[in-house]
């Protein structure tokens, strides 16, 4: 199928690239990469569990941006307190300014098509920063997103602005015509001393399969504070490969929380690139899976400069025949002395057919660093269960109390209150938790 996929996407690429824009060079280069690399095969160590090449079937089709979806269709998926947030909409991977609503002042925040940014005031920034993540993901699927990046979105949080209301991004895949392929692309510039909170969610409309292949790049400048929340709560037919690439180009604070509650095949890459001394980053993840969902979280913390701190905690609860994968890489480069990097992955298996795979990978080239990692895979703690039951709490409720407690540890890191409550509500319903 790999060859078929290459010819399908090549044809689509030539069809769409009639007008040469500012991103033409970038896309051409990416398309050439894609042709060269092809799709990641299962033998590729990075893609051992997420067998993504299986998804490139003959019936997979790039979706159009004109699907007739209206604001009313989007209404039921809006995140809490959306009326005061900026809401940015992708339809089948294509940024749709008409359906979007920028509710921040232009001196605080701008959100425009990536192509416009590349042609206008932000040309230099886009040229210098778009595609930085490619070095970390030398694979065809990453290149394939880049080849179609001109449909993307550009966001800038302006210098010194503390932006209180969040930016919500909704990625809609309209699968009514068939098995739809969508490739959203976003570049975010958080300027010096700006503060920004972004929440991204994914929605598949229609009863067919969907496949989203996303690349989301954030560049954070000195003294910026960035909170990034990725909420995955799609149907059992939705597939996802997404790379979130966060660069700290100045000393700043970046937080990422990734919540995966459903989907078919879900692969999340999250990178924190610590390019400035004394940077601080936090990465939290929760995957609560059942059915046949596979969620594969690959994270990278790349300590380029000294004195950086990073903390990472991923937790998984797997029921049914679901499968959770965690791979956490920490690189400490030669010059990155005094790095503090912590990583932990904890898994609870609720059924005999569920599975968890966890692999920490530390590559340390500096000699004066503190790095730790740990992982656990187990069942619910029998002693804790007995303790709760011995107080008259039923086994079912005791389990749900313990699972909710396990999950809440991650949810507490969603600082955006209404969003945290929204996610907590979904999780509580799933766990039958009502105390």
């Amino acid at each position: 199928m790999s060859n078929d996929a290459i010819s399908y996407f090549s044809a689509k690429f030539s069809e769409e690239k009639k007008k040469p824009g500012a991103l033409a060079g970038f896309s051409d280069k990416a398309m050439a990469e894609f042709r060269k690399l092809g799709l990641p095969a299962v033998r590729h160590e990075e893609w051992k569990y997420a067998r993504v090449s299986n998804l490139f079937r003959k019936d997979l089709q790039i979706g159009t941006g004109e699907t007739g979806l209206t604001k009313a269709d989007i209404d039921k998926f809006r995140l809490p307190d959306a009326d005061s947030a900026t809401e940015l909409i992708f339809i089948n991977g294509i940024f749709n300014p008409a359906l979007s609503a920028v509710r921040h002042l232009p001196e605080e925040l701008i959100a425009i098509p990536l192509e416009d940014a590349a042609n206008g005031d932000y040309a230099e920034f886009v040229k210098a920063n778009l595609g930085h993540s490619a070095d970390y993901h030398p694979d065809g699927i990453h290149a394939l997103n880049a080849a179609f990046a001109d449909n993307g979105l550009f966001i800038a949080a302006k210098k010194g602005k503390v932006i209180e209301k969040p930016v919500y991004i909704y990625n809609l895949a309209d699968s009514r015509p068939g098995f739809i392929f969508a490739q959203p692309r976003t570049l975010v510039h958080v300027e010096a001393a700006a503060q920004l909170q972004i929440a991204v969610q994914y929605i598949t409309i229609g009863g067919n399969e969907s496949f989203t292949n996303e690349v989301f790049e954030i560049v954070a400048e000195k003294d910026a504070i960035v909170d990034y929340y990725k909420i995955q709560h799609e149907g059992q037919l939705a597939n996802h490969v997404g790379t979130t690439h966060i660069r700290q180009v100045g000393k700043c604070l970046t937080n990422a929380v990734t919540i995966t509650l459903s989907g078919a095949l879900v692969r999340n890459n999250l990178n924190m690139i610590m390019e400035s001394e004394h940077g601080e980053s936090h990465m939290y993840g929760l995957y609560l899976l059942d059915g046949k969902t596979l969620a594969d979280n690959h994270t990278i913390v790349d300590n380029v400069m000294p004195h950086c701190y990073s903390n990472e905690l991923y937790k998984g609860i797997m029921d049914g025949e679901s499968s959770g994968v965690f791979n956490g890489k920490i690189f400490v480069r030669k010059d990155a002395q005094k790095t503090n990097a912590y990583q932990s992955n904890k898994n609870i298996l609720l059924s005999d057919s569920a599975s968890a795979n966890t692999k920490p990978q530390l590559e340390i080239f500096a000699d004066d660093v503190k790095c730790s990692h740990g992982c656990t895979i187990g069942r619910l703690d029998d002693e804790a269960l007995f303790y709760l039951r011995s107080r008259g709490i039923s086994e079912k409720n005791a389990k749900s109390l313990l699972l909710h407690a396990f999950a809440i540890d991650i949810l507490d890191n969603i600082k955006l209150g209404p969003l945290r409550e929204h996610v907590d509500k979904i999780i509580s319903e799933r766990l039958d938790f009502n105390f």
């Binding site: 002693e383 011995s390 107080r391 313990l402 407690a405 540890d409």
Partner: protein, 254 residues
């Protein structure tokens, strides 16, 4: 209230309880003493329904019902309470929410409506005084980061909230300094009524200076080898467990 007849129990094929007989009536306080490894904590665990023990023989009747037939939560709702020797730390579960859930499960079992927030808080405030426990402790995660003494006080606080018919205190005195011991004992003494009963499992007689038992039983090698009153505990304190061991061995030689 509680009738234990010829109770035998194993853990991983090894027989720990080898024929326990014990009757506890409402209003009584019993103390079970014995050297390490005699089966004291096993007895407490088997009564509360811990699953890693297997009862191989005998019967236990609690409030006229077959105790061994009940799940741990049913035992609790029927009025049994175990104060753990090592209370479990459960991060993410707030102590207050947990106790509220437990209290309301017990009420539901008795056909009562759940307590509303105001009534619950009132009850809580009142019972907090019993064990001199601080509000700030209760708003934290269950036992997480509690000191040894705080954990034990939290156990007695839960007991006071749940108002059990039979409370089993498994080495509640271990690891307590004298002030904490006094507070815990005071909580127990104030909870005593003519309708409830206590089973104190302890290695030392120290606790019994503060909670005066009606009966003292010595457990050795999985059997109650001697029963008496408070004087028996004092005798044990003075002479150590060796005299019991010697008596048992002499008896077995006969």
């Amino acid at each position: 209230m509680l009738h234990i007849k010829n109770l035998h129990a194993n853990i991983e094929e090894k027989e720990i309880l080898r024929g326990i007989n014990l009757d506890i009536k409402a209003g009584e306080v019993h103390a079970i003493m014995g050297p390490n490894g005699s089966g004291k904590s096993t007895l407490a665990s088997v009564l509360a329904g811990r699953s890693n023990f297997e009862v191989t023989q005998g019967s236990v009747e609690f409030m006229g019902k077959d105790l061994l037939d009940m799940s741990p939560e049913e035992r609790a709702r029927e009025g049994m309470f175990l104060a753990f020797q090592y209370p479990v730390e459960i991060p993410g579960v707030s102590t207050t929410n947990f106790i509220k859930t437990a209290v309301n499960e017990a009420r539901k079992h008795r056909g009562l409506d759940p307590l509303d927030a105001v009534a619950f808080l009132k009850l809580m405030k009142e019972r907090m005084k019993l064990v001199e426990i601080d509000q700030s402790l209760l708003s934290r995660s269950l036992n997480e980061g509690f000191s040894g003494g705080e954990k034990k006080r939290n156990e007695i606080f839960q007991m006071a909230m749940l108002e059990p018919k039979l409370a089993i205190l498994d080495e509640t005195d271990s690891g307590l300094d004298i002030d904490a011991l006094r507070i815990v004992a005071n909580g127990v003494n104030k909870s005593r009524t003519k309708d409830n009963a206590f089973l104190l499992v302890t290695h030392y007689q120290r606790l019994l200076d503060y909670i005066v038992p009606d009966f003292v039983h010595v457990l050795y090698n999985g059997r109650i080898v001697k029963s008496g009153t408070r004087e028996l505990a004092l005798e044990l304190e003075e002479r150590g467990y060796d005299f019991i061991k010697n008596e048992v061995e002499l008896a077995e030689q006969d």
